[in-house]
């Protein structure tokens, strides 16, 4: 049985977002959307998290931060890029300090475009991420022979 689908814990990192998508991510936790229905918890701790949600584009300053957060997460893990800035850099793509989307630095599994991404879209993205998470945990078990 894949319990990871029933209790995905989230780590939310704000790259160089305008806070639009951040607010929408947090809106998912409010009584209106209440993602805790699905066992989703916003942990704020990479060692506890299964899904890394990144909002905003990646810039030169936060490349090491994003990489370190990803490396600290325990396997199996997935990355979801929330909002158009995180998927491709968005309107900030041409800025001198912006590297581009999150996929320039990390292997992104789910892209949720939108400016700002709506809570429904974010929840949909997380659900898609869960399917990938399940695949990954299967692969991980095959590797370790369990």
């Amino acid at each position: 049985m894949k319990f990871v689908k029933k209790s995905p814990w989230i780590l939310h990192y704000d790259g160089s977002s305008c806070n639009g998508c951040d607010i929408e991510v947090l809106a998912c936790l409010t009584p209106l959307y209440d993602v805790e229905r699905f066992g989703i918890i916003n942990t704020g701790n990479p060692k506890h998290a299964d899904i890394l949600l990144i909002t905003g584009s990646v810039n030169e300053q936060n490349i090491p931060v994003v990489k370190q957060l990803y490396e600290q997460m325990a396997e199996p893990k997935v990355v979801a890029a929330i909002g158009i800035c995180a998927t491709s850099g968005g309107i900030f793509a041409e800025c001198y300090n912006v590297v581009g989307g999150v996929d320039k630095v990390l292997p992104v599994d789910v892209y949720v475009p939108g400016c700002a991404a709506r809570p429904e879209a974010i929840i949909d993205g997380v659900v898609k991420a869960l399917a990938i998470l399940e695949e990954k945990s299967k692969d991980a078990r095959k590797k370790t022979g369990k």
Binding site: F3, P31, E36, G39, G44, N45, D50, E75
Partner: protein, 286 residues
């Protein structure tokens, strides 16, 4: 037969503890106007954590939480099987100390803050727990739970002050607001979960199961105050355990977290007034 029943109780303890935690999460969500997770959510969380990778910070780090769980199981077993209440309390304290050492072992600033706060919490609640044991001895002339719960008059008649004090202290032990300084139940809180910061995977699952045992332990202390040799009193005692747990959930949702100074002084003031006055009056009459 008796042994089998005791083994059954010990196996049931974490299951009941987990279910209570699940009910707690649902009730909390309803109080906040949300639907909340399924009742079995704590079990899903633990099963998921077991299936995940455990990141090892150093070799001792993991050892401490396992030892902590062993002592929590040991303490709960003593209490449920009607053993010596003093021994159970000290065994649980030892478990808490190992948990604190686990926090220190990882050398992360978050978990060290959590450990220091946990030590302050232990200092805050421990006097009251010990006074409760002393009070139970005064009332029933025994430290053995099976003798305390076989008297004709419930201990609460002699120890109302100590009971209120104990309920106050339970907030620390159940890790509920306003006294969840060292690690909180809620995600993204109390310096990103204090002692548990560096734990992941199976080790975090062990911490969660240890907490289930602690929930049962604390509620058994409440039970001891109400149970007598009459069978109906046992039922009443279990209902009161449920009510106390519900009260703790309400308190958790209604109060903001206190600073450690306030938590510490309020706990000791309650212990000093309710606990000691109760004991003094009791020693005067008996």
């Amino acid at each position: 037969m008796n042994i089998l029943m005791n083994i059954g109780f010990v196996i049931a303890a974490p299951i009941v503890g987990g279910l209570l935690t699940g009910v707690d999460r649902v009730i909390t969500a309803r109080m906040q106007g949300r639907q909340g997770p399924p009742v079995l959510q704590p079990f899903y969380d633990v099963m998921k954590l077991i299936q995940k990778e455990s990141i090892e910070v150093n070799s001792m780090h993991r050892f401490f939480v396992y030892i902590s769980m062993v002592f929590a199981i040991f303490a709960t077993t003593i209490l449920i099987t009607g053993g010596d209440i003093l021994l159970a309390v000290f065994a649980l304290t030892l478990g808490s100390i190992f948990f604190v050492l686990g926090g220190y072992a990882s050398n992360s600033p978050y978990s060290i803050i959590g450990s220091e706060r946990e030590l302050l919490q232990i200092m805050s609640y421990e006097p009251m727990v010990l006074l409760a044991c002393v009070g139970l001895y005064y009332a029933d002339r025994s430290f053995f739970v099976k003798e305390i719960i076989n008297n004709s008059i419930p201990a609460i008649v002699y120890l109302p002050g100590l009971f209120i004090g104990l309920v106050f202290i339970l907030t620390f032990k159940l890790r509920k607001s306003p006294f969840d300084l060292s690690m909180s139940h809620h995600g993204h809180q109390e310096i990103v979960k204090g002692i548990t910061t560096e734990y992941s995977g199976r080790d975090l699952a062990v911490i969660e199961v240890t907490h289930w045992f602690e929930v049962i332990f604390t509620l058994t202390l409440v039970y001891v105050f109400f149970a007598t040799n009459a069978p109906i009193s046992r039922v009443i005692a279990i209902v009161i355990c449920g009510l106390v747990y519900l009260l703790e959930i309400v308190i958790d949702n209604a109060f903001a977290r206190l600073k450690w100074q306030q938590a510490f002084t309020s706990a000791w003031i309650i212990t000093g007034t309710l606990g000691i006055v109760n004991l003094m009056i009791l020693s005067y009459f008996r």
